[in-house]
Structure formats: structure tokens, C-alpha cells
């Protein structure tokens, strides 16, 4: 963990994510409406909003899987696709959005985080199967697994892990990418105290090394403790600012106010 301190200096720009006039829709129904905000590089940002308010949608746009109807996205001041191709964006999906039946081991899952870097390996090396790739990739993978304390389960099929273990594997995969920007969709849901601690500690260390963290969560207590900035989102940006201001009751009430999109009751605070 002490390995390479502050490797994320390469991200020169002050702003890691800059979004303006973003509108997104599924089948014509707008889910995000004219969203604009800016997230500073090297900071820990938390996105808070009720269920169905468009948080996952926002992250999938930043991760490149959903094309917005309108609006402009810049990552580190430049073209987001170019950033992604340089493996500068890591994404940890919300638990439900992955095929846990897939025949793949913990080790191989974590290794997929390196695939972007392997693509830039010299010549024929990029075509090699992951297990024959350069030692460097495997070392990073082993280190990430040790960091989330899952090394003893490396050979297990992912389908046979508990919910909390799966989350740690996804976190390890994210770490192997060594991306200056990480997007995490509700990484703390369904975890016990220790696992939550472990994930938050890992993220804090990453943050100290200069990584920009964008985390969706319903956990207000830990947001208060860890976040540098909070983005209140409900179809559009309600407000953005330091946690102490954003997490006041009146602000949260405004964020949770039902609109025609959010049929489900406002977000409870999980087990915070």
C-alpha cells in the first residue's frame, strides 16, 4: 500500500468531472434534466438523492455506457472517451447490475481491471490471455486482492461469494485499474461495520494519493465524515457544496421531495 505514493499527479486539470446542460432519457422519458456541475480533481465527492433520482444514470453516462440526449461531459478538462481509453476512469457498479452466475473466478474478475492497460502492452502481448500477461499486471492484481483481504478466496468462482465479499472483489478490480477518477455506485450497501470500514479506509488512502472519488450513497453519517463535497441530485442538481451545508435537514427534505419520476418513497438512510 505504501508502494507508489501519489501516482495520480498526472491528472493536471483542476476539475475532474465537468458536466453542463446534461439531459438523459430512457425511451424518451427524461431521467436527468439539464444537469450542470463541476467536481474538483483529487477530492472525495458524494452524490446523494432518493431512489430513482438518476444517480446510477449519471454514473453510467460518465462511464460511457449511456449516451446523453443533450449536454456536454468533460473529464479532466478533455474528451471523456479519450480518458476512458487511457484507463483513467474506473467504475464500480451497483450490486444488482452484474451477472454473478458468470463462470469466472475472483482472480480473473479482478484482473479485468487491467484489461485496459494490457491493450497498450507492446505488439503481440496485447493479444495474450490475462494469465500470460506481464508480471506487473499480476503483481498489481495480487496487491489489490490483499488490500481488500480477499487473497485467500482468489480461486473461488464469484457466484459463491457473500454479498460483502463480492463488493470487496469489485473494489479490488477498481483498484487494479489505478485510475485517477473512480466512480462508485452504492459501495456500502448491505455491508457490516467492518467491511464498510475496510472500503472507506481503502478509499481514503486512494484519496490521499490524489485519486478523485465520486461515490453514490445513502449513507449520510459516512458522507459527513469522509466527503469533501456533496452533490444533491434529484433529476436535476438540487445543490452542491460542503457536507456540513448540504446535509442539513432542510436541504435533504428538498432533495427527497417527490417529483413525477420518483414513484418509490424517498430514500431511507440505509443502516447509517
Amino acid at each position: 500500500m505504501a508502494a507508489n505514493p501519489a501516482p495520480y499527479q498526472s491528472a493536471q486539470a483542476d476539475s475532474a468531472v465537468s458536466v453542463s446542460g446534461l439531459t438523459a432519457a430512457y425511451d424518451g422519458a427524461p431521467v436527468l434534466d439539464n444537469v450542470s456541475f463541476e467536481l474538483g480533481a483529487g477530492q472525495w465527492h458524494t452524490v446523494i438523492g432518493p431512489n430513482g433520482s438518476g444517480k446510477t444514470t449519471l454514473l453510467t453516462i460518465l462511464a460511457g455506457s449511456l449516451t446523453p440526449v443533450r449536454g456536454d461531459v468533460k473529464l479532466f478538462g478533455g474528451d471523456p472517451e479519450a480518458c476512458r481509453r487511457r484507463s483513467e476512469v474506473a467504475y464500480m457498479p451497483q450490486h444488482e447490475n452484474l451477472e454473478w452466475d458468470f463462470p469466472i473466478s475472483v482472480w480473473d474478475t479482478v484482473m479485468t481491471g487491467r484489461y485496459g492497460h494490457m491493450r497498450r502492452d507492446a505488439l503481440w502481448r496485447r493479444f495474450l490471455p490475462a494469465r500470460l500477461s506481464a508480471d506487473r499486471h499480476r503483481e498489481i492484481c495480487a496487491r489489490a486482492l490483499a488490500e481488500v483481504r480477499m487473497d485467500h478466496l482468489a480461486r473461488r468462482p464469484i457466484g459463491q461469494l457473500s454479498g460483502g465479499q463480492k463488493k470487496r472483489v469489485l473494489l479490488a478490480r477498481m483498484l487494479t485499474q489505478e485510475a485517477p477518477l473512480v466512480l462508485l455506485d452504492e459501495p456500502l450497501v448491505g455491508l457490516d461495520k467492518d467491511s464498510r470500514r475496510l472500503i472507506l479506509d481503502v478509499l481514503r488512502r486512494q484519496r490521499e494519493r490524489g485519486q478523485t472519488i465520486v461515490m453514490v450513497t445513502h449513507d449520510l453519517v459516512n458522507t459527513m465524515k469522509y466527503a469533501d463535497q456533496v452533490l444533491l441530485l434529484n433529476r436535476s442538481v438540487i445543490d452542491i457544496g460542503p457536507p456540513a451545508e448540504m446535509l442539513r435537514d432542510d436541504m435533504l427534505t428538498r432533495t427527497a421531495a417527490p417529483n413525477w419520476l420518483t414513484q418509490t418513497p424517498a430514500a431511507d438512510e440505509e443502516d447509517a
Partner: protein, 311 residues
Amino acid sequence: MVEGFDAFSRNVVDVLLGGLMGVVGLLPESIAEPFQYAFMQRALLTAIVVGATCGLLSCFIVLKRWSLLGDAISHAVLPGVAIAYLVGWPFFIGAFITGALTSLGIGAIERHTRLKADAAMGVMFTAAFAIGVVIISQIASSTHLMHILFGNVLGVQPAALLLTIIAGLIAVAAVALFYKELLLYTFDPVQTRALGFHSGRIHYGLILLLTLTIVASLETVGIILVVAMLATPGATAHLLTDRLPVMLAIAIGVGVFSAIIGLYLAYYFNLASGGSIVVVASTLFLLALVFSPRHGLLRRWFRDAAIRRAH
């Protein structure tokens, strides 16, 4: 040009068959007996290649839940076969063109209209199939139609065999070279995009590969049954392992084994080759379903019974 290709393929196929027969010659007389005939030798080689190629691709089809798409493409191939027959091209080429066009078209419909994938497939591919049936009923005998629909591996000609081999090699090479991309895309499409891979290219590449495999298998198992070869080996393997490389190996094994045993059955009992191959594959699937040490029904029954006893 077509004649030149015929002569060329006869030579290449002869060389390959020489190698294959060297291996068959090591087997006991009673097993090797049918392969004294040239048509059986060709059938054996075709069956092996088709079984392996289908088995390989079937893993991705099963994991991506694309069985329906495979079925659809196989039907869309028919008008291509008919038109190629009309203008005297190898049917292979016509089949690939219409199969590819329709399967790419379906992606476009899905993206740009409000129709969902299943409706788009249902409409497009039945229409293509109907056109194919209409043309073929005008130009060819009904036995010919039967062979296209149900396959006739015993009648494979050297040119078709060589094209099948080439298609198989392309499929194997593509999967080997882009294994990481295919794994990533079937496992986690969002991560694929986040890492900056072109998921569109991977998607359509996989569809083209699927089309190629279907076309290559037409003569052997036929249009109606090819989808069985594209689903059953993968499904069987999925029941038996939790690792993708092992799954690929098992599926290839299941594909090749079914093809060879099916060929024997077709030869000895004078059955439609496609049908007997698929029956063997389905039997293997049933066995795996019941007896799989990990995900089998038997194991589940025992486990449930043990739990009941414990309470």
C-alpha cells in the same frame, strides 16, 4: 473461378483427410469400418469442425442469452441460400450475406425505433425465412429443401468442407485473439465501455462470428437445428464448471462428441444427420443436468433431503 476453387479444395481436403485417416486407422477395425468411403471421411471431418466451432461459440451465446438471436439468424440465411442457388454461387456466400445483413439490421431497428429486440427478430427473420421458402419451392426439389432445412452431412462436397474449415479457423482465431474483449463484454458491458473498449465493434463482431458459424454448420445440421448446436454444448458446459476456459473446452468436447456419434447413428440407421447429432447433444445435456457434481438436479435433491433431515 468456381471450378478452380473446386479443384483446389479437393486437394486441400485430401491432404487433411489423409491426416485424419491416419488417426482413424489406429482405431479398432469395427469402429473404423465406415470410413473406408470417401463421403464418410468428409462427413467425419465436417462433423468435427462443425462440432468444435459451434461448441466454442455456444458458450458466448449461452452467457449472453443470445439463443433466440442464433435461431433468428439461422432462418434469415435461407433466402441467401436460395438466391445463391439461382445464380450458381456457392450457397455459403449468399447465406452469409443475407444472414449478416439481417442480423446487423436487427441491431439498427432496435437502436433507432421503439421496437424491442424480440419483436424486431420475430418480424425480420420470419419474413426472410418465408421469402427463402418461396424461392426454393420454385427452383429446387423438395429433397434439396429438406437437406437445407435438416442438414445432410453425408453429402458434403470438398468445396463446402473447405469453406467450413476456413470459417472454423476464423472463429477460433477471433476468439483466441480477442478472448479478453469477449470475456469482458459478455461479463460486464458497462466495464467494457468504462475501459474505453468499442463495445459496438465487439457486439457486431460477435454477431458476425455467430453468423459465420451458422452458415458453416448449415450442411451438417441444417437451418432448423443449428441453433441447438449453438445452445446445447454451452448450456451443458455451464452446468459442469465455473471457469470460462474450462467451459469452452467442455463445450467444444460436447460439440465434437455429439457430431461424431450422431454421424455414426445417421450412417448405421439411415437417419437425418442433423437430427441425430442434436439428439446426442441433448442427451449429454440431460445427463449433465441430472448428474453435474456442482449444479446437477441429483446433487440438489440430496442436499435438500439432507437439510430436511437435519430439521
